[in-house]
């Protein structure tokens, strides 16, 4: 409250403060050795102020009364300096006040309570299991755990305390050909990072899965190079999550749409909103894209976002048509006309996030997920219905332009489909796409039993670049006639 009082005295019309203790632990191994074992803690606070419609932010690791008050004044002074170039003042959409909110990730086992020896032994056992496979030469494995204790307060009267957990186990196996002419890696992309505790590591069954990843790495060495051309693609959720992230989640961030990220992350083709909302056909009628920060076990799940807003579930794409964008309190008011037209209140969807105490919060994507189809189709059904195609498992190389039109995606494993059956493995596959055509070419979708939650820690946006962690749920899908290139060339 010292921060908020000092900010008010310094002329702030609104202020918020986040105090965060962020602990993480990482264990990295390769083959039969532990490469790194580290335990990290960072503690500090950040004060954001709004003075005359302009933002200021200051942060410090010294949580004393004087330093908190000094930082609040520094933040307000910065806001005043920033006001010099003001054209359009910031207006915050109203948000319900939470007087004393408590939230905790729904975990079973706190990873920081599990003995280091157990974690190390598990990783080394997974490595050993992978190395037993003939032809597998190198294996890296790791675990990463995060616990963030975050206290938030703002001048509207909201006060929340949250404890957020995330866990990410992973394995990567590399096979090298005997003459050193080729090498291929298989990453454990069928294990996603999640907003869970140590139980997620155990559920991932690293030791049991390691031989399969190793065998797949070895198989990739002798896989057939793909012939370039147009193919029907059947995409596994372990692959599709990243495509959703890049081609749907990013272009529907409202700050990008209005040009606020033009200097780095870029703008968006889903613009201007007046020509998109309720009009633009992103994909087929069975395509529904949901934004939320609530899915159980997801990386984006929180009780309140970083401006004290309780998140809600909202449809970004409804029956194939653009229906909404991701918003913060500042941005929600930009779409007031649309919400009025829809008979909805103008409120933030709870998409404000800062990676740590020293970074200013801004609009970050929530979990953005493709909802399953009504028919309960499965992966095998999609393969069986495909005459000539490629099935892609796991995410790989990825790149997309600054408006999110042109993208290129690789993968982990590629299988040739002929006459409704998988007939062999391919390599050097990447597909190139234009976002609206790619999603409108989707003609089959899996059902709820094949829905899976993909996740990523490294979602980058903003300057300085901040890292966000999100999940993207989806079933498998099929897309007709997508352009496939061969990425292999002799050295």
């Amino acid at each position: 409250m010292v921060a908020l009082d000092a900010a008010r005295s310094a002329g702030a019309q609104y202020a918020d403060v986040r105090i965060s203790r962020n602990r993480n632990q990482s264990i990295n191994t390769r083959e039969r050795r532990v490469q790194g074992l580290s335990d990290n803690e960072t503690f500090g606070f950040g004060v954001r102020t709004l003075v005359g419609g302009a933002w200021g932010f200051a942060a410090s690791s010294d949580l004393t009364r004087d330093e908190v008050a000094r930082s609040a004044r520094q933040s307000a002074a910065q806001a005043s300096a920033n006001r010099a170039a003001l054209v359009k003042p910031v207006v915050l959409a109203p948000a319900p006040v939470t007087r004393e909110g408590m939230w905790r990730s729904p975990i079973k086992t706190d990873p920081f309570d599990v003995a280091i020896e157990e974690k190390v032994a598990l990783l080394l056992a997974a490595n050993e299991a992978a190395l037993k496979v003939r032809g597998s030469r190198f294996v890296n494995s790791s675990m990463f755990f995060l616990r963030e204790e975050k206290t938030y307060a703002n001048t509207d009267g909201t006060y929340t305390v949250q404890t957020i957990y995330r866990a990410s186990p992973s394995v990567s196996v590399t096979a090298v050909s005997s003459d050193f002419s080729d090498f291929q890696a298989r990453q454990s992309t069928d294990i996603a990072p999640m907003g869970r505790g140590y139980e997620h590591v155990l559920d991932s069954k690293l030791v049991e899965n390691a031989p399969r990843w190793a065998e797949e790495a070895v198989q990739k060495l002798s896989a057939k190079p793909v012939e370039v051309g147009r193919y029907d693609l059947v995409l596994d959720p372990t692959h599709l999550g990243l495509t959703i992230h890049e081609s749907i989640a990013h272009p529907t961030e409202l700050d990008r749409v209005y040009g606020y990220e033009a200097n780095y992350a870029g703008t968006s083709f889903v613009a201007p909103p007046e020509q998109m909302l309720g009009k633009f056909k992103y994909g087929p009628e069975f395509m529904n894209i949901q934004g939320d920060r609530m899915q159980d076990g997801s990386l984006g799940a929180v009780g309140w976002d970083d401006e004290g807003v309780q998140p809600e579930t909202f449809l970004i794409i409804k029956n194939g048509v653009v229906n909404d964008y991701q918003t913060t309190r500042e941005q929600a008011s930009w779409l007031e006309w649309w919400y009025k037209q829809q008979g909805k209140p103008t409120r933030s969807h709870g998409c404000s996030y800062a990676q740590n105490w020293s970074s200013v919060q801004f609009q970050r994507m929530p979990n953005v997920s493709l909802l399953p189809g009504e028919q309960n189709l499965k992966w095998d059904d999609l393969i069986a219905a495909t005459d000539r195609g490629i099935a892609i498992v796991g995410d790989g190389s990825f790149s997309i332009d600054q408006q999110r039109y042109n993208a290129q995606f690789g993968g982990q494993l590629f299988y040739e489909i002929r006459g409704g059956k998988i007939v062999g493995m391919l390599k050097d596959v990447a597909y190139q796409m234009r976002t609206p055509e790619f999603w409108n070419a989707m003609d089959m979708i899996g059902g709820k039993d094949s829905y899976w939650l993909w996740g990523a820690f490294g979602d980058a946006k903003g300057q300085p670049s901040q890292s966000n962690a999100v999940s993207h749920g989806c079933p498998p899908t099929r897309h007709r006639g997508i352009n496939v290139i061969n990425t292999g060339r002799g050295a």
């Binding site: 335990d39 050193f180 200097n263 332009d401 352009n483 290139i485």
Partner: protein, 444 residues
Amino acid sequence: MGREECEALAKRVLSFATADETRVTINSGGRGNTRFAVNQISTGGDNYDATVSVRSSFGKRSGVVNTNKLDDASLRAAVGLSERLAKLSPEDPEAMPELGPQTYLEDRGWSEVTASLDPSARANAARAITEPARAAGLISTGYLETQAGANAIANSKGLFAYAKQTALALTTTVRTEDGTGSGWAGATSHDFTKLDPAALGARAIDKARRSVNPVAIEPGRYTVVFEPTAVGNLVQFITNAMGARNADEGRSFFSKQGGGNKIDTKVVDERVTITSDPLDPEAYGNTFSGDGQPLSKVTWIENGVVKNLAYDRYWAQKQGKTAVGQSGTIRMSGGTSSIEEMIASTDRGILVTRFWYLRPVDPRTILYTGLTRDGTFLIERGRITRPIKNFRFNDSPIYMLNNLEAMGRPVRVSASEAGGPGQAVIVPPIKVRDFNFTSLSDAI
């Protein structure tokens, strides 16, 4: 933190240690940033932090703990946890003993002007771009970041290393109101007085105007004139891939078929030399590595031939080599051609301002994909004739530097996609034949 302050803090931490060997790393500093968008300042931030990293070793077992709480009780707890982690860790067959006292090059990368730049000075720099853009009916967006910090390493064998550095970057993207044109300019330095915000703004404004309503041309292999930023975007992937161990293990472009690595093998055009030098006057780098090893000038590629790969201490010892570290700077040799001369000598080609979303596709060839952005033009019969739609490419900087036609004078560029100071990169503009553009992008 000053040298004495770091030394005192390190001594305090080491006094709590009971391990066979202990290393203390101290990073301290402030960061300030100002963002502007739609011709006004959108957000900014100032923060200061100091972290202590404690690495404890018992024989071949070690653990690391990082904390930013610097009171005695917290530091004692951090040392205790680090020692507990070390005891719980299995023996590392590759563990190397801590180094004893070393001699380092004198670091020079500090600018008082940069260190004392305040929010209003940053706002003035932003306005030097936003006001001309607004007057021209254009939309400017950009970012100014300053860093001023110190890094120190001390260990229980008496090693002490200290360096303080400043860094900053200013980048701007200017777009036309109708969204059909976009231009970019950016620069990095350790010294704010070497940056000219108004000139950067003018360059981005000019590019935005000239890039309006681009036309589509067929993807394919083209002769390309790369501005220095585009060269910097790609060339850093070569030095990033120059780890000796991956090469010796057969999983790198620098692996030799049949075994071994490509040291003494010619990999690019003989006009290309790539070096790192912590005392490069245009881009001061680190004078010591994370384990306290002194860093000095390294020639990675000389006249097209690989001269050095990066060896950590363990791999160097195992292979009977000397450890070679990266100092965080890259300088590529140049030539005498100007960009205008490169354009004038091109019958049909493309001029690229910079690249975006660069990602590895195939590590066997350092093959990357990415897109052109913010100023891509068609060259016909020796002159720029029109703006063209952006392209995606799939190609390797190795192939690019084998297809070299001409090089210009090297300059320092802002080579980081995120617009932060990043690693210091000094590269020339170049002209290259047969660069592989594989698809068109509608993005502007």
